[in-house]
Symmetry: C2
Subunit: 190 residues, 2 copies
Amino acid sequence: MYDALKATFDRIVPLSDSDWAFALPLFKYVEYKKGELILREGEVHHHSIFVITGALRIYNFNGNKESIRNIFLENSMFNESGSYYLKKPSLFNIDAIEATKAFIMHRNDAEVLFSRSVQLATLGRRFAEYALATVVERNNELTSMDGKARYLKLLKEKPHVFQRVPQYMIASYLGITPEALSRIRKEIAG
Amino acid sequence: MYDALKATFDRIVPLSDSDWAFALPLFKYVEYKKGELILREGEVHHHSIFVITGALRIYNFNGNKESIRNIFLENSMFNESGSYYLKKPSLFNIDAIEATKAFIMHRNDAEVLFSRSVQLATLGRRFAEYALATVVERNNELTSMDGKARYLKLLKEKPHVFQRVPQYMIASYLGITPEALSRIRKEIAG
DNA sequence: AAAGTCTATTGATCTACATCAATCACTTAG
DNA sequence: CTAAGTGATTGATGTAGATCAATAGACTTT
């Protein structure tokens, strides 16, 4: 049950058996039904989530339209950073696109964990650093590429997402409307 | 000379005298002339930069137009995250908007530093976490607010920037053209 | 099979903002 | 004092993508 978790973490920083023995009980196993709301806008997000299988999304509303910020598939770890790290009310909702199995860890437990050894502290640092690098990259895409270029990049780098997520969610993730994405696809196909 | 640095760091994680004695020699003091190029697109960014006084910006080119990603004033620490953490060629340039005094630390020294104690490891983690939270917030602004709303938010949250940075750079930071910003200002004033 | 619900497509129109071009105000150098 | 930058403003026009509305295919539910 912990295999995927261990493999993912060990790829970042190898941990001692002692650190693992300390870490594993701090994770709580949870299952989310398809469509289940995990975090509601306005609540503070207290947990980091490691997706074992399934798919979660984080999104907010622009007016009455959903705007998807990110989609997390298996073996990815995330939280609502602004809320989790700064303890502010979340600007986003999190829900399950698919039935999902996950481990979650409370911020307080994570702080204890990351204070236990330099290896664990480094693990925590690497997660934040990696997340930071990817968010900056996404930021750059949104400001310097148009919809078509963003679509082609996603198609190239994460083709598997298209097998699992409906097109209107892809459009939302790309920052455009379903109509605009449909026209981009038509233009490319034609 | 180290006062601002110490005060900023201590606000995040208080360090022991021993840790400070270890840390300080790893910083290198540098001065940048106004307009000086610090990092060129395509190079790997090896240093984190702590701004003592002055102003630096990170930007790239969309076609032949500069697009400013961020501006860093005194007592802020940053690096080109994608390049620094993933050791990839930078997508951005960094240069000095004003004459600037700074400390820089090489990634290799930072890794040594953050592996020395749990306190120092936590300091490194907090920097990444805080940067992550702010980048996510900026990301959200760029996708869910229009130019006018972004301008008003900046005016409210960082009014001092307007005293120091020309309007066309503000426009670029906001993701709009100088012409568009000028019209927004006119509309608000009128 | 019929009815209802989603998702994707297509067309018509609208809008925020970009682009191009000219002018104006300020500063700095000769 | 004058010329030459440099930054900000204003006007005219262009465009990517939003919005609104209709249609059609695919899936469920009964």
